[in-house]
Assembly symmetry: C2
Homo-oligomer: 357 residues x 2
């Protein structure tokens, strides 16, 4: 049995649960290494994975005897089998943040459980602290992102469309060993950069455009996330004070991202400085990164959470002037031996592509 | 107020609900045209969309006064505002198949609702019947798919990889006006075609390979879906009887897809004919297509559903011989004025690419 499952078994015992039903595929993957559709049960006696005919073979190929996980094809399980898994259990945990209300009712019925108990993100909280193998994979995903950004500095020219640039990013990742992008790449130029979540369009890059590029990839299942706002041809004077305000706050936040720091306080610091200059912090300052692109902990003015060693969190302040432009600068940051270590390291000073001669 | 919202308002009144909370973004898009993250409320007095700072601007740009939808930034709403939306409502509906258990409890608390009522896919069922505008968008997505297939007949050569072909399909779509592919394109050649859900690999096309291509795009949000099994160089004799059995059943099923036909009976018909020849129908015979690539109604031996005018459903029988080959033929079919009208119309007789001279 691996450390993650062992840890969870101990944890639920402390919480007076005799079993737990895990359905979120990311949590299943974290605990078991299995990448399929199915349900993972920790019962008093065993660790059980229930899947269907499409996955049984692949799952059995993933597991070894040391995993101590029994795999069932659901078509081989009777009503009694289901009801026996948690026989005599007083409390059985489930993932209330993932399981739909309809599924919750189905679990109660299928497994004949009296008290299905909320677990308050028990596994998501466990996932916040990365082990060395996880850090290595995230670091590699971040390195690929830096390399891709480096490539873009030469690739991006006035006249290319946002969509073409987004496609180039995705191809670079695939051709250089990433599994995939970790989210839909954002390339937002000119006015479009004023939308934090812009989708790449057929708009062509024009001289003087700010171009916000929010990009990341997955490497062996683990994500990276980085944003830079760069410029085509030259840096317009009106954008400079805002760029510098965002950059100053992005760097200050990194400096504060030490073991023991409170994420609410860091967010407040940025929010206050933005307000002092007449701007708002309209989205969270950051989020955890791991198997998911957005995971715990979130860094916002509402999250009273303290940073711990081996958390990986983004730092991404942004300012958006409606119908004009926006600037966002983001790094993926690892809390390592008490200190913040950025894992994405691309240039944050003004980057000007296709510079006017 | 548009017809969809009006219809839903009437429907919930009949079900003795005074309001409904809609959180599934596809359902929100269907009802409002809004493509963002937020919650849509139908309250006794108003239609309300609650979102956050990231989307307010984009949402307000989408809507007109005729939509009669009030947009709120959640940060401007107080506890009282939330509690007043459904004041004096006895029953308020929610989407139990989409909403998590945690969210369900949060709704009860935030909106102060006593009876949050399950709605059994009320909107998904409404979405089954397409209006003329929706049919037009699906038709256009299907037309692009036919054009893409036509292009492939000349493009595909022995020696190209499955991945190269999949990439060509995606580029064709993007370059010819589609929003995107509607699902990950399947290109499965030779033995790989025996896997119904194969992912394109670096395997090169070889002479005598069957090539199953399952492709579709989105046009203005609406999907198309088509599969053809074609051949490289020549059609191997051993595949012919199976190809003809699949094709015969695919055509017969289309003939049966009339208004009033029962989807279970059509599926049984295909299943029986396959069994008579020693094969199994291992997946559903079809599925609804619209804003989602897979939506209601499903056509399988378990679905006791009757076809209605303006449903759009795929017809996709397939036979898979493990480790040898597979054949699947699929069209997107519109039930129009009582009769089945295929919207994808590509050649279903043997298509041989890079034919030996």
């Amino acid at each position: 049995m691996n450390n993650n499952i062992r840890w969870l078994r101990d944890k639920i015992r402390v919480l007076d649960m005799q079993g737990i039903i895990i359905s979120n595929p990311i949590n299943v993957k974290y605990l078991t290494g299995i990448d399929a559709e199915g349900t993972f049960l920790i019962t008093p006696k065993e660790n059980i994975y229930i899947t269907d005919g499409r996955y049984v073979e692949a799952v059995n190929n993933t597991l070894t005897i040391n995993d101590e996980i029994v795999v069932f094809d659901m078509k081989d399980l009777s009503k009694d089998d289901y009801e026996n898994f948690f026989l005599f259990c007083e409390n059985v945990g489930f993932e209330e943040e993932y399981v739909t209300y309809a599924k919750y009712k189905k679990f109660m019925h299928t497994y004949k459980i009296n008290n299905l108990q909320e677990t308050e993100g028990i596994i998501e909280k466990q996932r916040m602290i990365k082990d060395p193998e996880e850090i290595e994979k995230i670091s590699k995903a971040c390195k690929l992102t830096d390399e891709c950004f480096n490539h873009l500095k030469n690739y991006i020219k006035i006249g290319l469309t946002e969509k073409q640039i987004a496609k180039e990013i995705e191809e670079f990742y695939i051709n250089n060993g990433a599994d995939d992008v970790s989210f839909e790449t954002i390339v937002a130029s000119g006015k479009n950069s004023s939308l934090p979540h812009a989708i790449p369009t057929d708009k062509k890059i024009e001289p003087g455009d700010p171009i916000t590029i929010d990009m990341g990839c997955k490497y062996k299942g683990y994500c990276s996330d980085m944003t830079r706002t760069i410029f085509a041809g030259f840096v317009p004077e009106e954008i400079k004070p805002i760029y510098e305000l965002v950059l100053k706050n992005q760097k200050q936040a990194i400096d504060e991202m030490k073991e023991g720091a409170n994420l609410k306080i860091i967010s407040r610091m940025v929010e206050n400085d933005f307000r002092l200059h007449g701007f708002d912090l309209i989205h969270a300052l950051g989020h955890g990164v791991g198997l998911e692109i957005h995971e715990l902990p979130y860094m916002s003015t509402k999250m009273d959470v303290y940073l711990k060693n081996n958390m990986v969190v983004t730092d991404e302040p942004g300012i958006y002037i409606p119908n004009k432009f926006g600037v966002r600068i983001e790094d993926t940051v690892w809390v390592n031996k008490g200190m913040a270590t950025p894992l994405t390291r691309s240039d944050k000073d003004y980057v000007v592509v296709d510079e006017a001669k």
